[in-house]
């Protein structure tokens, strides 16, 4: 049986937004992330209005735990026009995982609104591969760039 929510239909979007946003943590925490995403999914199922408000939050904080997930996230971003939704990214790896440069670079190019980035990649000789942080240069911002040759000498 379909439930109607007359109370909610009378409320303006601003209040619905407050309901959604006050129900979830605004920043990443490993202990609350799963519940955060689950709460948002539940909101998406309440009504179209709630879905329109809650859905963007699903992409706001992204927790990537494997190279396969990274590919999935990049594919998802490829297919959406709202690449600016992602604000906070947490990327971690198991000891045997290898993040290749290409997907990281693809991801960085899509990281349109990333303000906070947490990387947690272990290295075990013979099992994993070090991540080259120079992929950060590809974040779409004016703020990350290669140094001109004249300045390189000052750093080394």
């Amino acid at each position: 049986m379909r439930t109607t929510l007359p109370l909610f239909s009378a409320l303006p979007n601003e209040l619905l937004r407050q309901i959604v946003e006050s129900s979830i943590p605004s920043t990443f925490h490993s202990t609350t992330y799963k519940q955060r995403q689950s709460t948002l999914c539940s909101f998406c199922l309440v009504s179209r209005r709630f879905r329109d408000i809650a859905q963007p939050h699903l992409l706001q904080i992204v927790w990537i735990k494997s190279p396969e997930q990274l590919e999935q996230v990049v594919d998802r971003l490829d297919s959406t026009e709202r690449k600016d939704l992602v604000c906070e990214v947490v990327l971690r790896a198991l000891p045997t995982a290898c993040y290749e440069a290409a997907p990281l670079e693809r991801f960085a190019r899509h990281g349109g609104n990333v303000r906070s980035l947490a990387l947690n990649v272990p290295y075990f000789e013979g099992y994993s591969k070090r991540v080259d942080l120079s992929f950060l240069q590809l974040l779409p911002s004016t703020s990350v760039y290669f140094l001109p040759r004249s300045q390189l000498s000052q750093l080394t």
């Binding site: 990443f28 925490h29 490993s30 202990t31 600016d84 604000c87 947490v90 971690r92 790896a93 349109g112 609104n113 990333v114 303000r115 906070s116 980035l117 947490a118 990387l119 947690n120 990649v121 272990p122 290295y123 994993s128 591969k129 070090r130 991540v131 080259d132 942080l133 120079s134 950060l136 240069q137 974040l139 779409p140 911002s141 004016t142 703020s143 990350v144 760039y145 290669f146 140094l147 300045q151 390189l152 000052q154 750093l155 080394t156």
Partner: protein
């Protein structure tokens, strides 16, 4: 061309699986939390400079315990060049031993993070540390907690003059009725002696995951306020 996007302001680099093949500039970055082993990794040194991180004001550098002997760095703090521009710095107590000369002029902006029982509070406080944080004391057995508090109380009681200004503890150590009775007595004793000596006890939620920043939001915001009041210097 001006980018319509927000810029990366907070970066956390945990664990040791990184290199930096080409120097880059993170012009908008304000806060960097980085494991010590990564600070010593190939190419990373070029990132830890005012040229590469011109706006960084908060730095967290911990994880010394992860280092193998052969990776132990020289006496200089790898991010020493950044120290003058920092408003707040979180470093592990072991690092203080390694590069005391780098930290000594900056105790007012340095939060020394320690594992209870693993370091000498007397030595760190004698060196001049003004702000201490005990990391996740709740992970430790009550006996170790008891000993750690006993040592800390001794430091607060006996050091005269004492330069300590604040001690950061996890909120689970507030002296409420669920706390182990012996520990509760110790926390209350610490609160009392700290008050007598003008030392503030700050209860702040600590990181619980490996991917979380080492930077203390509370310490950072207090320092920002102090810097602002001092005229932005």
């Amino acid at each position: 061309m001006i980018s319509p996007f927000a810029e990366l302001t907070d970066l956390v680099i945990s664990n040791n699986g990184y290199i930096l093949s080409s120097p880059i500039v993170l012009e908008a970055l304000e806060s960097l939390s980085i494991d010590y082993e990564t600070m010593c990794a190939p190419g990373i040194e070029s990132l830890l400079t005012p040229t590469s991180l011109p706006l960084v004001r908060s730095l967290g550098a911990v994880g010394v315990f992860m280092l193998e002997d052969e990776h132990y760095p020289p006496e200089r703090f790898p991010a020493a060049a950044l120290l003058p521009q920092l408003h707040s710095l979180v470093v592990e107590a072991e690092l203080v031993d390694l590069a005391l000369n780098d930290f000594q002029p900056r105790w007012d902006r340095t939060l020394v993070e320690s594992t209870p029982g693993d370091f000498d509070e007397f030595a760190v406080c004698s060196a001049g540390a003004q702000h201490l944080r005990f990391i996740k004391l709740t992970h430790y057995a009550d006996i170790e907690l008891f000993d750690a508090f006993t040592k800390l109380i001794e430091v607060v009681k006996t050091q005269d003059p004492i330069r300590l200004r604040s001690i950061y503890l996890d909120p689970t150590l507030r002296p409420h009725r669920y706390l182990d009775p012996e520990i509760k007595v110790k926390v209350e004793e610490l609160l009392q002696f700290a008050e007598d000596k003008g030392i503030e006890i700050v209860f702040e939620e600590q990181r619980s995951g490996e991917s979380e920043s080492h930077i203390s939001k509370e310490f950072r915001s207090r320092r920002e306020k102090e810097v602002h009041e001092a005229g932005g210097k």
